[in-house]
Structure formats: structure tokens, C-alpha cells
């Protein structure tokens, strides 16, 4: 079960809606934050704290690709390789990540520092290539810039 403080946080979310079902997505985010990813245990705890059926929690969670469905590294890199970014060299960046950090799409580095997910357009087509690291946004990427940025994420 969650700690008291987190239960309190969930209660506050529940209070916003007439139906506890509506609190499911925000609570899944909390669980992801606390457990690192949406393990069965995490989803079980979410089901318990909202008094919702477990199968419903899993069905909902599994629909969204932006939830983490397997253990991830400390920092999640979401790199766009959609058309504009691709033209501006995103593919080279994928190779660079592989060579420099042994980081491949859908893989976590052995030191659990980074995970990489390839994204569709993230809305920065005019300043591509672009990526998200956790929730931070970075654009106009080059190999040097990526290295420089990633230095900040230990």
C-alpha cells in the first residue's frame, strides 16, 4: 500500500471528481512516480486505493503508451524521428546514442542511467531534431549538444 502522504494526495485527487474512476489516470501517474514504472504491484495498489477492479486499472493503463510498462532507467529520453526531425538528422542521433552510450530504442543502459523511446512528432518541427528528457524539452539537437545536455542527467 502507499504511504500516508501519498494516500492523502490520492484522496485530494479523488475529491475533484464525482466518480473515483476519473481519478485513475492521475493516480497511475503517482504510482509510476513512486514505483518507477507500472508494475503489477503498482497497479494493484492503485486499484486498492481507488476501490476499482484490478483488471480495469490494467486495461486502462495498458492503453496508454506514455506510461512505463516495464522498468526504465533513471532518465527517460524520448527522441523524435518523425519527418521533420528525420530530415534534420535525427537518425544520426539515434546512431550516436548507440555508439556513445550503448543506448538503443526501447532499451535501458546497463547502469540504468538512460532509457530511450523513439517518439512521433512532439511539436517542435521548426527546431528539430527534438527530444524530451524526463519532462524537460530540448531542441535543435546535434551530437555535441546531446552529449552536453545528457551530462546534466546522472
Amino acid at each position: 500500500m502507499f504511504k500516508e502522504t501519498i494516500l492523502k494526495e490520492i484522496d485530494d485527487i479523488k475529491a475533484r471528481y464525482p466518480d473515483p474512476k476519473s481519478a485513475l489516470l492521475p493516480t497511475l501517474y503517482i504510482a509510476q512516480r513512486e514505483f518507477g514504472w507500472l508494475s503489477h504491484e503498482a497497479m494493484h495498489v492503485v486499484a486498492q486505493s481507488l476501490n476499482l477492479p484490478e483488471a480495469m486499472v490494467r486495461g486502462t493503463a495498458s492503453f496508454y503508451t506514455m506510461f512505463k510498462h516495464k522498468p526504465m532507467g533513471r532518465h527517460l529520453i524520448q527522441l523524435c524521428t518523425n519527418v521533420s526531425c528525420m530530415i534534420l538528422g535525427a537518425e544520426r542521433l539515434v546512431d550516436f546514442l548507440k555508439n556513445r552510450y550503448s543506448l538503443e530504442p526501447n532499451i535501458t543502459t546497463t547502469d540504468r542511467r538512460f532509457s530511450l523511446v523513439i517518439m512521433e512528432c512532439i511539436g517542435a518541427c521548426d527546431r528539430g531534431p527534438a527530444m524530451l528528457v524526463n519532462t524537460d524539452f530540448h531542441d535543435s539537437l546535434t551530437e555535441e549538444r546531446i552529449e552536453e545536455i545528457l551530462e546534466k542527467y546522472k
Binding site: 503489477h40 494493484h44 483488471a55 480495469m56 486499472v57 490494467r58 492503453f63
Partner: protein, 853 residues
């Protein structure tokens, strides 16, 4: 009035319905895949597309509501093309493995493809691979065959209310799955299985054992397990039941079933059946012949009756036997054996409660229609979990909750945890105080009704007592009950088998009376009500006619041609005690297992051992049969014709489905013994017994099998109920017992089993193979127990070893254990104290120690 036109045919509708429904009522078929009559429209598969004039695109008939003036076509080239394409899409990922799929022959996809074409599809891509899952004990999931119609999920969520499965993933990778194969809150109702249009969910018990067309016959009959009495169809091949299938649109269950009904059918086909009469010689049971055994019984009974009088004989009838069996049984006891010592295991709950309520509130007070629960504003549940004892009734409560009915639970009803509005947990064994408090509060708010003076007086008297109770939620519960809506009360037997259970019954009667509530009694066995109606009670003749009223007695004596003994008989526990005292010398047990099903097993065993002669008629060599002098094989539920009366007092037909040469109908065996004893009974068929019942019992007046077959034979048929109620309510001296902080053992009714019968059903045994002790989280922590630990459970009566299961819903000092498994039934650990009013053996307050082993 709405007028629409489908395929040039004018259709008038009273109310707006979907185009699909309108077409169906007009006999026009529209193909469907995701639509199902028990489920809300979904509009997922698009197969039901039709053309509607002035609408640009094809429309899905299952979601389109008919509007006045609509002109619809269900057949055209465009429609056929659309359907063919949809099917082609569905086949992209389908493995096309019909030759090895159990569903072939009754698969909706197969039929549709057969009709509309697109047999293979043009897609050259690799098919999605999902390995068939055999992780579950009962279901095989083949997600390559799944067409994602979500019928199973909607069934499990919206109808069954278990919400055990869901669609996971998305797009082409979507599939139906439980939360996890190991943590799966499935109730094994199998309702998902029956609505799956394809072979994506299959039942393992008969996997690859049968093709749908390889069936000798289908017989419509009634479930043998609980007092709801669901209808279903059994499919028979080579004189053995291959599976149970529901019939949507029929019976009070409308095609829904619970785990016992759906998977418990193997019982009568068990290898452990007794096949020939057994007679005790030199202390051991030996195989014998029918002639020898029946003569022996007749001689012995005659001898005892003539030397010691009928009062030395007693009979235990069975709530699992038919009305016909029980009618003949009590007639035999009264007329041939000259005794009124007739009772049944129902004394422990249903029969006593039912009698108490009828005495106070009038005959028929508990005859309420299960589906009516949905129309209540408030449902008060106490004394057990309806979703486990009477699962299909439980579904009505869940459905009501979804429609906004307030569900108030007193005590524990796990299956309603997600459906309840409020729940209060009284201090241990203090339900009476809580109910008396509620009764007096209702009396203060609403006053008396003035219709039943005895009841009014007693309620008034009760309000003089000062009741101080402080339980979370009680005030809210009171407000809910007084909020003015219509109230239904669902009473389980856990609060009836108490040494002062009559206090609880009185309070419930009072609340029912003041609130004009509908009262439902949960009933564990299929024919508890019928048993009472047939007169298998010590003080009443068939039709609930009291023995003491001379006029009634005379009427029966004229038809039965003989005299009925004057003296009222003994109740169940009194019979056992009289046996121990050697006052009763012969006991005749029909289809019951008192050694296992009564508290204080060792005492009951001793008592039965001190008998001169014990006859047991059963389908298995039960713990009781092992002690018998003569054991007679009987016929099981699927082997006989007859009727059951369910808890709402609906009479339904049980039909013979299989022939088992070694079985014998209970009523036939008993009539033969009776005739041998000089009291002639000859009935060629079960139907002829009903004919007699219909002449003598005022409640079953003019009832015939034909009439029952039509359905809806509900209380009180053509009969006149007795409306008289008691003028003085019996009272007993109140005793107060303080319960210490310890742990107390109580019986649990589990969903997957039903007494000792179901343990012989292989599928149910797979679902629930072992007894478990349920314990609340708090106590488990205190004792350092984890899920699955082995413990010894000991009381003053003895000790047994079982596994622990932690139940978060248990909030009081109780631990629960079922009474199903050989050598490990809860009753063997309980002692009893008889309630002076209801004569129920009270089994509460049995302190228990639990130790890890």
C-alpha cells in the same frame, strides 16, 4: 407511435428502440457480432450495417435508434460488400484453425464468413501470434481467435459485476486478459464463455472432448445447487452430461449462471456413486440385493413401531430432494411409521426463519420475486453474502446498485464490497442489539402500523429499553432506512443459527413490518422451501397446515386413508438428542449427511451409533452412510423427474436427463417400503405424486406439470394462503454473554462449493481444491500469518489443519471456514446451544486458537 419501414415492411413501435430490435421483433434478421441481448449496445464490429434513406453512410443497426419515418434496407450489394470487407479485416489475424477449435459448428464468425464470403482474405502480412493460454484452471484463452467484440468484458463488468477481465493493449495488439494469471478475481460464472461468439474462451473441463453437433439430447432442467433455481439446458451424450448451456431469455436467471450451476454438473456422473444396496453384517457394510434390503428395513420399522410406538422412529428429509420425494417421505413417516418426528437440516436456518416470519407476519411473507430487487430504493443485506449463497440473486443486488439503489450491508458481504453504499460492522455477535436499535428508531420516527397487535405490543415494549450503541455508520444507516424509499431486506442464515437468533428474527420482522419491506431469505439448497411446503417439519402438514388444527388433520386423513399421529414431532437437534437417550431407536435419513452437517460431530456420531437401526438413502457413501445399517442408492438430480420450489416460491420442473440403471428414485424406494409395511403407496410416475399434492395441499391447488411447464407458477398459484398470525409472540429469557477479545470461528458459505455434493464435481474442485481459513488482515498480522500458511485450527471440539487466506473484508474477530471438504468441515469444530424459540442449534461464540504449523 413511431412508424418505420424496413425492407418495404411497415413496423409500428410503441417506444423508441434500436433498429436492430425493431427488425428482430418484425422477424427480419440482421447479422451481428458484438451485440448481445444481455448487453448494452456497443457498435464495435460494424457487421450490423444497414442503409437508411437520407443518411449518407451505412449505419450500425444495433446503435441506431429508430425514428419516425425512417426507411431502412438491410440487404443490398453495398451492405453485403461492407460485411464481406469487415469479415476480411477480422480474418487478418485469425488463425483459421476451425478444424481444431471446439467452437466450430456453433461459431458466429464461422457462420458469418460462410454466409458473406471472404473465406481467406487477401492480406499477406504475418499473422499476430499470441500463444494459447492454459494458465487458468478452467478457461483456455486463445487470443488469436478473438474478434475483440468485448462481449466477455461487458458481461463480466456490466452484468456479472466481477470485472475480472479487460481488453489490454491497443490497436492490433489488443487482447482480452485478466489482471494477471495468478491474481484473478474471477467468480467462474462462465458467463463470459457463453457470450463469446468465437472459440477465444473455452472451457477446459471438456476441451477437445466434444463437437457441438455430437449430442444425443438436450434437456431443459433446473440447477440442483441453491434456492434460486436457475434454468439451464444439459447436453447429454452416451448417458452422461457433457456440458450445461444457458438459455438466454428463459427462466428467472435469463441465461446467467454461477460457477456451481455451470460447472457442478459432474456430480451425478461421479465414480464414487453407490450402485447397490449395502447392509451391515458383523459390523461391516456388504453389498446386498434390493429385495433383501427393503424387506429388512420394512420388518425392522414395523417391529419398532409395534413394540415401542411411532415415537421411537424419526426421519430426516432433504432440501436437495424433490417435492415429490419429500411429500412421499413425510407421508410414509406419518402414516406407515406413525410418527411426526420429521425434520431436516433446514432447521439450522431457512426452515426456522421462514416459520418465524410467517407466524408473525403471515404466510407468504418471504415469497418475493428475485427480479423485484431491482425495483427497490434500498436493499438491506445481513447474515451472509448473497453473491456467494445465492449468486444469481446477488447479481440482482449488484444490478440494483448500478441503477442507484442504496445497498446497506450489516456485517460481511464480500461480493458487495464494490457495490455497497454503506456497511456497518457490529461488535461480535451483537447484531441483535443493532437491529433492535434500528427497530426502535424506526418505531419512534414512523409509529406503529396497528395491523398486527401482538407485533405492535412487542415493538412498543422493546422501545422501553435503553439501547446505547456506538458503531460507525449506524446513524447513516438509520437515515437511509427512514428516507422513505421502498426497502428490501435480504437475510442470510448466519444470523439465524444463533442461540438467541429469535431476537434477530424478531427485529427483522419488526423492521419489515414497519417499513412495509420485502423480505428475502437466502437459501443454500435447491428445495428448502419445497421441503417445508411438503410438510417435512414436525408440526405442520403439507401446505403449511398446522398439525394441531383438527380440521386440517381430518382432511388429510380422509385422502391418506388412515390416522395421523396426534403428537407433534421433535425438531432436528431434539431428534439427535433423543437418539442419544435411546428414546429414538430407528432413524431414516433421506439424502442428508447429518454427521457432517451438524455441529458437535462427535456427539452426533455417538448418537447415531446408539441407534438400533439407521437407514440412509443417498447417492454417495457419506460420513453418515458409513454408520448406517442399510444404505440404499438413490437417484441424483439429473436422473429424475420432479419439482423444486425456490426461495421466491416458484415451482419449477426438474427433468430426467440421463439414465443410470443403478439409481432409484427416493419416492419409489420409500413407497415400496411403505407398502411392505402395510401402508400401500403406488405412484407410477412423479407426476402422479404432484397430482395428489395438488388435491391435498391448499398451496399447490390444481397444479399440474403442464401448468408448471408454462412457467411462472408462483406463490400462491390458485391456492389460498393462511393469513392468520400468532396472537402472542413467544419470548425467552434473555441471556447476555460478553465476548472477550479472542477469535471466534464461524461458518462460511463459499461461492464454489455447496455442502458435500460439490466436492465430487471435478471442475469445482479444480476451481477451489482446498478448504481455507479466512482471517482479517489485523488478526493475520497479529498472529504473523501470511497467505497460504498452514495452520491448525482448534476449538474445544477438535482440531484440523488448513491453509490460511487473508480477507481484507473481514473487520471483526471472526475467522471463517466452510463446511465442504472431507474431514475438514467447520461444523466438526463447533458446538451448539439450542435457541428456545426457533429450536435452531446456535453455533456462535466458539472460541478458536490458530497456530502456524
Amino acid at each position: 407511435m413511431i412508424t418505420i419501414n424496413i425492407n418495404e415492411k411497415e413496423i409500428r413501435l410503441d417506444k423508441p428502440v434500436t433498429v436492430l430490435e425493431a427488425a428482430r421483433t418484425a422477424g427480419i434478421k440482421i447479422p451481428t457480432l458484438c451485440a448481445h441481448e444481455l448487453l448494452e449496445a456497443y457498435g464495435g464490429c460494424r457487421l450490423c450495417v444497414v442503409e437508411v434513406e437520407r443518411m449518407l453512410k451505412l449505419q450500425t443497426a444495433c446503435t441506431l435508434i429508430a425514428a419516425d419515418g425512417m426507411v431502412i434496407r438491410t440487404k443490398s450489394e453495398a451492405i453485403s460488400n461492407a460485411r464481406r470487407s469487415i469479415l476480411e479485416f477480422l480474418l487478418i489475424n485469425h488463425p483459421l484453425d476451425c478444424p481444431v477449435c471446439d467452437k466450430a459448428g456453433e461459431c458466429e464468425l464461422q457462420d458469418l464468413v460462410n454466409k458473406y464470403g471472404a473465406t481467406a482474405g487477401r492480406f499477406k502480412e504475418e499473422k499476430r501470434k499470441v500463444p494459447e493460454s492454459h494458465e487458468d484452471r478452467i478457461f483456455t484463452r486463445n487470443m488469436e481467435r478473438c474478434v475483440l467484440c468485448t462481449r466477455c468484458v461487458r458481461m463480466c463488468n456490466d452484468v456479472q459485476g466481477a470485472s475480472a477481465i479487460n481488453i489490454v493493449g491497443r490497436g492490433g495488439r489488443s487482447r482480452m486478459e485478466p489482471f494477471s494469471p495468478t491474481s484473478f478475481n474471477c467468480e467462474y460464472c462462465g458467463n463470459c464463455l457463453t457470450v463469446c461468439p468465437v472459440g477465444a474462451i473455452l472451457s477446459r473441463p471438456h476441451l477437445h472432448s466434444l463437437r457441438p453437433w455430437q449430442i444425443d439430447k438436450e434437456v431443459e432442467t433446473i440447477c440442483p445447487y441453491c434456492g434460486v433455481g436457475c434454468s439451464f439446458v444439459v447436453q447429454v451424450r452416451d448417458e452422461s452430461i457433457k456440458r450445461v448451456i444457458p438459455r438466454f431469455g428463459f427462466g428467472l436467471n435469463n441465461g446467467l449462471l454461477c460457477s456451481r450451476g455451470r460447472f457442478g454438473y459432474e456430480v451425478t456422473g461421479s465414480q464414487e456413486r453407490i450402485k447397490v444396496p449395502l447392509v451391515r453384517i458383523d459390523g461391516k457394510l456388504h453389498q446386498s440385493t434390493w429385495d433383501y434390503a427393503l424387506n429388512l428395513i420394512a420388518d425392522k420399522l414395523k417391529d419398532i413401531r409395534d413394540t415401542h410406538g411411532g415415537s421411537a422412529i424419526a426421519g430426516i428429509a432433504s432440501p436437495r430432494c424433490t417435492n415429490e420425494d419429500n411429500y412421499v417421505f413425510q407421508k410414509f413417516m406419518r402414516m406407515a411409521c406413525k410418527t411426526n418426528n420429521i425434520d431436516s437440516i433446514s432447521r439450522i436456518g431457512f426452515a426456522s426463519a421462514q416459520r418465524y416470519f410467517e407466524d408473525l407476519l403471515g404466510q407468504g411473507i418471504t415469497a418475493n420475486i428475485i427480479l423485484g430487487l431491482k425495483n427497490s430504493d434500498i436493499i438491506l443485506v445481513l447474515g451472509g453474502d448473497p453473491t456467494a449463497v445465492n449468486p444469481i440473486l446477488g447479481l440482482s443486488i449488484r444490478a440494483a446498485a448500478r441503477n442507484g439503489t442504496k445497498i446497506a450491508v450489516i456485517g460481511n458481504a464480500k461480493g458487495l464490497e464494490r457495490f455497497k453504499t454503506l456497511r456497518i460492522v457490529p461488535d461480535i455477535f451483537k447484531e441483535a442489539e443493532v437491529l433492535e436499535y434500528l427497530l426502535t428508531e424506526i418505531f419512534r420516527a414512523k409509529g406503529l402500523r396497528g395491523e398486527k397487535p401482538a407485533l405492535d405490543r412487542k415493538i412498543e415494549g422493546l422501545s422501553g429499553k435503553s439501547l446505547k450503541i456506538d458503531i460507525a455508520g449506524l446513524a447513516e444507516l438509520k437515515d437511509v432506512l427512514l428516507s422513505g424509499g421502498s426497502v428490501s431486506i435480504v437475510l442470510g442464515m448466519d444470523v439465524v443459527h444463533r442461540s438467541r437468533g429469535h431476537r434477530i428474527l424478531f427485529a427483522v420482522a419488526g423492521i419489515t413490518y414497519l417499513l412495509e419491506a420485502r423480505l428475502y431469505l437466502l437459501s443454500e439448497s435447491s428445495n428448502e422451501q419445497g421441503l417445508i411446503d411438503m410438510g417435512c417439519v414436525p408440526d405442520m402438514l403439507p401446505g403449511g397446515r398446522p398439525l394441531v388444527v383438527g380440521d386440517f388433520k381430518k382432511r388429510f386423513e380422509t385422502v391418506w386413508k388412515g390416522t395421523i399421529p396426534e403428537k407433534g414431532g421433535l425438531t432436528l437437534m431434539e431428534i439427535i438428542e433423543a437418539t442419544k437417550d435411546k428414546k429414538i431407536k430407528v432413524l431414516y435419513v433421506m439424502g442428508e449427511n447429518p454427521v457432517f452437517n451438524l455441529p458437535n460431530t462427535s456427539y452426533v456420531k455417538e448418537a447415531l451409533k446408539s441407534l438400533d437401526f439407521l437407514v440412509v438413502q443417498d447417492i454417495f457413501l457419506t460420513e453418515t452412510a458409513e454408520l448406517a445399517d442399510v444404505v440404499l442408492p438413490a437417484s441424483g438430480w439429473s436422473e429424475k423427474d420432479g419439482t423444486y420450489t425456490n426461495l421466491e416460491r416458484r415451482i419449477q420442473l426438474l427433468r430426467k436427463a440421463v439414465n443410470t440403471p443403478s439409481s432409484a428414485d427416493d419416492w419409489r424406494t420409500i413407497s415400496e417400503i411403505s407398502s411392505k409395511m402395510g401402508y400401500e403407496m403406488h405412484y407410477p410416475r412423479a407426476e402422479d405424486i404432484m397430482e395428489e399434492i395438488a388435491t391435498v395441499s391448499p398451496l399447490y391447488k390444481d397444479l399440474t406439470y403442464d401448468e408448471i411447464e408454462k412457467g411462472n407458477c408462483l406463490w400462491p398459484y390458485n391456492g389460498e394462503p393462511l393469513r392468520g398470525v400468532v396472537s402472542e409472540i413467544p419470548a425467552a429469557e434473555e441471556t447476555f454473554r460478553e465476548y472477550k477479545e479472542g477469535l471466534y470461528l464461524a461458518p462460511e458459505k463459499i461461492l464454489f462449493h455447496s455442502g458435500t455434493l460439490s466436492r465430487r464435481a471435478l471442475a469445482l474442485r479444480k476451481i477451489c481444491p482446498e478448504p481455507t481459513l479466512k482471517i482479517g488482515t489485523n488478526h493475520a498480522e497479529k498472529l504473523g500469518l501470511k497467505e497460504g500458511d498452514n495452520v491448525s485450527v482448534s476449538t474445544a471440539q477438535g482440531s484440523i489443519n488448513v491453509q490460511v487466506s487473508i480477507d481484507t473484508a473481514i473487520k471483526d474477530n471472526k475467522v471463517l471456514l466452510g463446511n465442504n471438504f472431507e474431514g475438514r468441515g467447520v461444523f466438526s469444530l463447533l458446538n451448539y446451544e439450542i435457541d428456545p424459540i426457533t429450536k435452531v442449534p446456535g453455533i456462535e461464540g466458539c472460541e478458536v486458537t490458530i497456530e502456524k504449523i
